[in-house]
Each structure stands twice: as C-alpha cells, then as structure tokens.
C-alpha cells in the first residue's frame, strides 16, 4: 500500500506533451467507438452512390462522366460533417464532469481543446480516405493524379481544422451534446445541399443561385475540383485559405474565452 503514496512526483508535462496525451485519447476513442465516425460518413457515401448511379446519367450523360464532378463535392461534405465532432466531444467532457480532473492537474489550460483538434485530424484523414477510396472503386481516377489528390485533401484538412474552432466554440456555448449535434446538422445540411456539390447552379432559380455563389462550401468545392482535376485555381485556393484564417481568428479566441469561463 505504501508504495502507492510514496516516491517523487514527476515534473508536470509541457504544453506539447499534454496536447499529445489528449490526442492519444482521441485516437483511442476512434478505435473504441468507430460507429460514431461511420454514422456520419455514411451520409456522403450514400449520396455518392445514389447521385452517381441514379442521377449521374441524367445529369452528365453517364454515371462515369458525372462522378469526377460529384466526388470532390462529397469529399468536402464528408469532412465537414465529421468536423462537428470537435464540438460534440468537448461538450460531452464538460457535461460529464471529466474536465474537473483535467483542471485540477498542472497542465496547459487549452491542452484538452488542442488535443481534441489533433484527434480531429485523424478523423478527417479517415473520412477523406474512405470517400476517395470509394470513388476509386467506382472508377474515379483524379486527373490531377497523386499530387493533385494530396494537395486537395491537404487543403480540405486545413480548412476543416480551422472550422473545428467554430464547433468547439459552439460546443462550449451549448448545454448538451445533443443540442450541439442538432445545431451542427441544421447549419451544415443547408450549406452542403444548397451548394454546387451535386449540380452546377446555372439551372437553379435566381435567388438560390445568389445563395450558392456566396456559400463558402461552394468555394471550397470549386477549389477542390480544381486541385483534383489537376488545374488548380490560385484565386479559389486563396479564397479558401483566407476564409480558414478568418474562422481561426474569430473562433479560436472565442473558444479559449468560453473554455476559461465554463470549465
């Protein structure tokens, strides 16, 4: 018994070590509760199959000609939907009281948040990898080749990581994980559906075209299409990076403030 309470207390971990510990926890959660991730990825997977085989012929002449247009869009959809988990996980920790222990430890205050974002990166990679693999199985060959695919997924991950901060802020502001989940869905579904993910906006009514053209998801999808097709548009990529920067500039400080207030 005595061995339990004697010995020297080690030095507290640095900010990076603590962040890695929280990232390790996030990876363990993916391993133990994979259904949480796959429930969300199921939506873009079903949309990819349904739109390609059901509507692809009508929309683009043949499913094979439609898929290169659709896949960058469902790829964006998958990663954006998964990004909500950044807020859900944080909210769950708050509601269950597990943050009380973290706060009694001598670790960097924001390590739980930073570690969660690190874990998100793994989720995004899994989501992007699955949808890309599905596309390849269905006959999709990105014209941009490996460099275009890597650049496309890289830009998407960078954007999603920045968007994570909006979800962490929302997760801290809302009371329950369920509220976070439904708010996230209410925000993301209109944005991903009323965009250029599935069809070009030119056949839409004027008011909808106006929305689609300002919808940030449309810009992201256009940038992704360019990268995957091997003819990236510097303007669109810059637009995405600026939007991502703006998200961090607003929501990272807001997250830190809300975390300090609630935790």
């Amino acid at each position: 018994m005595t061995a339990i309470v004697t010995g020297t207390r080690p030095e507290p971990p640095g900010a990076w070590t603590a962040t890695l510990a929280f990232g390790y926890r996030a990876l363990l959660k993916i391993r133990h509760v994979p259904e949480q991730l796959f429930d969300v990825i199921a939506i873009p997977v079903v949309f990819t199959l349904m739109f390609t085989y059901l509507f692809g012929g009508a929309l683009a002449g043949s499913p094979g000609r439609y898929l290169p247009f659709l896949l960058p869009g469902t790829l964006v959809m998958a990663v954006l939907l998964v990004s909500m988990y950044a807020g859900i996980g944080l909210n769950t920790d708050m509601t269950k009281g597990i943050t009380a222990r973290f706060r009694s430890l001598p670790v960097w205050r924001l390590a739980p948040v930073a570690g969660a974002v690190l874990g998100d990166l793994a989720r995004y990679l899994i989501a992007a990898g699955l949808v890309t693999a599905l596309g390849v199985i269905m006959g999709y060959r990105p014209p941009g080749g490996a460099p275009g695919t890597v650049a496309g997924i890289g830009l998407l991950l960078a954007f999603a990581l920045c968007l994570s901060w909006a979800w962490t802020a929302l997760g801290l502001a809302l009371r329950t994980p369920q509220a976070m989940m439904s708010t996230g869905t209410v925000v993301l579904f209109p944005l991903t559906l009323a965009s250029n993910v599935f069809v070009r906006p030119r056949t839409m009514p004027g008011w909808l075209q106006a929305f689609v053209s300002v919808n940030p998801v449309s810009h992201l999808v256009t940038a992704e299409r360019g990268l995957l097709a091997g003819h990236p548009s510097a303007g669109q990529v810059t637009w995405v990076l600026l939007a991502a920067g703006a998200l961090v500039a607003v929501f990272a400080p807001l997250t830190a403030w809300l975390y300090g207030r609630r935790a």
Binding site: T2, I4, P13, A21, R25, L28, V33, P106
Partner: protein, 252 residues
Amino acid sequence: MYEKRYPVAVEAEGLRKRFGTTEALRGVDLTAATGTIYGLLGPNGAGKSTTVRILATLLRPDGGRATVLGHDVVRQAGAVRRRIALAGQAATVDEDLTGKENLLFLGRLCGLGRSGARARAAGLLEAFDLAGAAGKQVKTYSGGMRRRLDLAASFLVPAELYFLDEPTTGLDPAARAQVWQIVRAAAESGSTVLLTTQYLEEADRVADRVAVIDHGVVVAEGTPAGLKADTGKGTLDEVFLALTRDSAGSAA
C-alpha cells in the same frame, strides 16, 4: 517523506461562494495540519464539495481567502495544482476507454513517462482490485468499479495533499477498508488528506480531526473524541445529528 515546510496544509478564512441565489458557503474557516487526515462532515448540500472544489482550484471563492501548502488557491493556482491530487465526487474517467487506457492517459498528463505510466497503471489496477477488468471499457464497469478507477487515477503520482470527496461512497466494505488503508499510508508518509464522507463511523476511526459544516459554515471542529466529549454524545453520528438537526431532516 515531505519536508514539513508548511506546518499548516490547508488554511481557509471566511470562504464565501454563491451560486445564483443560493449561498453555498457563508464564511468557512478551516485549518488542517500537515500530515494529518482531516474529515469534512455535513448534510447533503451543506457546502463540503464546494469547499473542496475551491481548495483544489476548481472554483474561485466570492470572498475570503485560502492557502494550500503555503500557496494562495486563486493567485497561485498553478503551484497548488503541482502539489495536490483530487478525487471529485463525480466520476471523472472516460467511459469509452478501458480502465488501463484511462490510467495511461491520465498518467501522461501527470507528467509520467511512457514506461512510468505503464508501471504505475499496473500497480494501481492491482491495488484497487481492477486488474481483471483493466482491458474492458469503463462503460461496462459497475458503479463501485468506476469509483475505484477514479480513486486510482487520483493516486497516479504522489501528492502532498489529497482531496478525496466522498471516496468510499458506493464501495463495498472490502473496497472501503482498502481505501482507508491507502489514506492512512498517505498520512504516514507525510502527506495530508482532506476528505468528505457520509460514513461518520469511518470518519471517527480514520480522521485525526473533523469539521462539521452546515448551511455553509463550520458549526463544530475538533478531534472526534473531543467533539463527542463536548456534546456529551457517544458516537459521531449523534454529534452530527445534534449539530445539524435543522437541516439533516430536510436534506435527507
């Protein structure tokens, strides 16, 4: 083990805390000497947990001041956190992870290296009788097993002061005896233990001194024997009832 640089482990003066319209603490004074086991007793809602949460730097007091091992709990919260360990009332382990993974993860957060955390986790799982369930997800654990894992996590690294908020609630007698054995060992090695409990006969046997909190103030303080003598009662249970008669009934 610890140099007794601070003869007083916990010193609180006039701690006040309000939640909305409820005055949880209305001026709590406490003094716990280093190397002792100090029991905080009181009915549900009396302010025991709020006091512990303030002393463990989780809550800021609205008024009054407190030092833990010579460090102010508000202005020197970081220094306090380096010296304490806390087992809060709510279970603070991750249900999705296994028992062992929880300890490995929290061990890293306590500053243990990879191999140190592994060795420590194995020892604690053994000591808290969880070795058989180490590889199972915590969501499959019984209430008592969760409580034991939570306590084990509080002993990952040695602390100068252990805050244990109702450490034995929900535990069977064997597990309770085990916890008290560890608490005694901690005090013998020079650490201080500040605990709250509903089991007064246990406080009577284990604690060097106790304070009875009621309606947010300390209504009595002393050794268990002294309190019994002062009030002319035979057990701490009777002392408790005599001191907290008004609220004990309403809180039950």
